[in-house]
């Protein structure tokens, strides 16, 4: 835990002062968006990594929140904070419903069900038109729905710092969750559902809970994203977004929470900074996912841990005595 705290504090220090290095508004915007998508990747890791339920339709929860936020603030004229809370609750409820459907399933069937639900939501968002916009203007379809915010415009610098604060608060919460009793139980279910059940764990109940919590976090990321972009778009439900979260987690190290978050910040900034087109991006995510699952199943975090372990086992290296209190490494 001390290591995690130290690493997070060091990263916070760097990211806090990074804008002073003269980043232009484009890069500030890319990084702010990256921070929000990192929280989404972390939320994927709660269900896909910690609980071992690989979801390929996680954008469903993200898009539900962006759309709920947009529809409630713009079409129903709800105040933004109330709409944001309702949007997060809606995502969490969607997660609980998906959890009910997928909890009895195992392995690839969870991925197939979530993929199908995510794509169904994407198609629905693409095809649905909301009447009743200002001046008879209809919203929806590919263009999406604007979000009505309580502030006029936010400067790139203030957006950057708001997104950074959100990233750290959400990551900290997710790290604490992973280390909690519930996190331990979910990691056990991911490792061996049979052994977990023989240890008194109601695996289906905990998987449903993992979906609801993870979807709520994805919803929080969606609300922040909608506020940042000022609009909910059909791409918020896209397969690319779901693949992206899974790929970031695979690269960073599934089940570690921190790994996917860091990988998301770095890869998003890299891909956006290099202006990689969307079609190429989805190929990149799909290949990265396959490559890492085949050759580095533990991701970079797993590869680093294995290298550390190999170093420790080298002849002539003294082994440090194991620490007694490290129950949740």
């Amino acid at each position: 835990m001390e290591k995690t705290t130290g690493a997070m504090a060091a990263t916070a220090g760097i990211l806090l002062f990074l804008p002073l290095a003269g980043l232009d508004s484009f890069l500030l915007d890319v990084m702010a968006t990256g921070f929000l998508l990192s929280v989404f990747a972390g939320s994927w890791d709660i269900v896909g990594g910690v609980a071992g339920q690989v979801s390929l339709g996680h954008a469903l929860f993200f898009g539900s929140a962006t759309y709920a936020c947009a529809v409630l603030t713009t079409l129903l004229r709800w105040p933004f904070p109330l709409a944001a809370a309702a949007a997060i609750l809606l995502s969490s409820a969607a997660g609980a419903a998906v959890g009910v459907l997928s909890a009895p399933l195992k392995g690839p069937f969870v991925a197939v069900v979530t993929l199908a639900l995510g794509e169904a939501a994407h198609e629905a968002a693409l095809g649905h038109i909301f009447p009743g916009g200002a001046g008879g203007y209809a919203w929806g379809g590919e263009g999406g729905v604007p979000v009505t915010l309580p502030w006029e415009t936010a400067s790139p610098l203030s957006s950057y710092y708001a997104a950074l604060a959100f990233l750290f608060a959400a990551t900290w919460a997710m790290v604490l969750f992973r280390r909690s009793r519930e996190g331990l139980i979910l990691r056990a279910v991911a490792g061996s559902e049979l052994a977990a059940r023989a240890s008194g764990v109601d695996a289906a109940r905990h998987k449903r809970r993992a979906f609801a919590i993870s979807a709520g976090l994805a919803g929080a990321a969606g609300v922040a994203y909608a506020a940042h972009m000022g609009r909910a778009a059909a791409t918020d439900f896209s397969l690319e977004l779901s693949f992206q979260a899974a790929a970031f987690a695979a690269v960073g190290g599934r089940g570690t929470v921190i790994g996917p978050v860091v990988a998301a910040v770095l890869l998003h900034t890299l891909l956006q900074g290099l202006a990689v087109p969307p079609g190429t991006r989805i190929l990149f995510f799909a290949f990265t996912l396959l490559l890492f699952l085949r050759f580095f199943p533990g991701g970079i975090a797993g590869a680093l841990a294995a290298a550390r372990e190999r170093g420790r086992r080298l002849p002539g290296r003294k082994r440090k005595p194991a620490r007694a209190r490290r129950a949740h490494p």
Binding site: S180, A188, L194, A195, S199, V201, A322
Partner: protein, 227 residues
């Protein structure tokens, strides 16, 4: 005296092949019972049914005087019926200590709430008891067969069960590992009053650890003898 665990007329067939054909047995509180039989005689199937992993085609299972046929395996563990597996399936990424904390965490979430670190001391004490204290930070995936068996027993004992169903827990163990686990079982039986049903292919071992030995053959209890 009311039996602690009781199975009546248990029948089970797989694809028309009858494995258990009216098995009836009971365990008294604190009793140690051995179960022996040829390969394929249905010993593991019986353990699966008693532990709630498999549903019987017919027959009833009772625990502490009430019918528990509808309870799944996790609920039976929480009720006090723990089991081990013939082939342990450990959590590869969890440490030994975490693996023992899982049943304690699950029990804590179900009512006995407390601080997050509340279970750690009893878990460490249990690991000392089963001889895994020094490996407490080792990932389960790196344990030897002997240590995996010890961990399996520790997991089963974590919530102080009233009945232990032990499926060939001594197989593929060295003589010293076997002696240590036998001593551990005897202690648990004597001090905590844990009843156990021990499946084994080793008659002398059953004779030294159990008060009664049942032979399962042809899908039925064909012989019962007191030791």
């Amino acid at each position: 005296m009311t039996p602690l665990l009781e199975a009546r007329e248990i029948r089970k067939a797989f694809d028309g092949d009858r494995v258990l054909d009216g098995v009836t047995l009971s365990l008294a509180p604190g009793e140690a019972v051995g179960l022996i039989g040829p390969n394929g005689s249905g010993k593991t199937t019986l353990i699966d049914i008693l532990s709630g992993l498999t549903k019987p085609d017919a027959g009833t299972v009772g625990f502490e005087g009430r019918e528990i046929g509808g309870l799944p395996m996790d609920a039976r563990y929480r009720a006090g019926i723990a089991r081990t597996f013939q082939v342990p399936s450990p959590y590869p990424a969890l440490s030994v200590l975490e693996a023992v904390l899982v049943p304690m965490a699950a029990a804590s979430q179900r009512g006995r709430r407390g601080g997050a670190g509340e279970e750690e001391e009893p878990a460490l004490a249990l690991l000392r008891r089963v001889g895994l204290f020094d490996q407490r930070c080792v990932p389960c995936a790196r344990l030897s067969q002997g240590c995996l068996r010890r961990l399996e027993l520790a997991r089963a004992l974590a919530c102080r069960p009233r009945v232990l169903l032990l499926d060939e827990i001594f197989s593929a163990l060295s003589a010293s590992d076997e002696a240590e686990l036998v001593a551990l079982l005897a202690t648990s039986n004597r001090e905590d009053g844990t009843a156990f049903l021990l499946v084994s292919h080793n008659p002398p071992l059953l004779a030294s650890t159990c008060g009664r030995i049942l032979t399962l053959k042809g899908g039925r209890i064909s012989r019962e003898r007191a030791v």
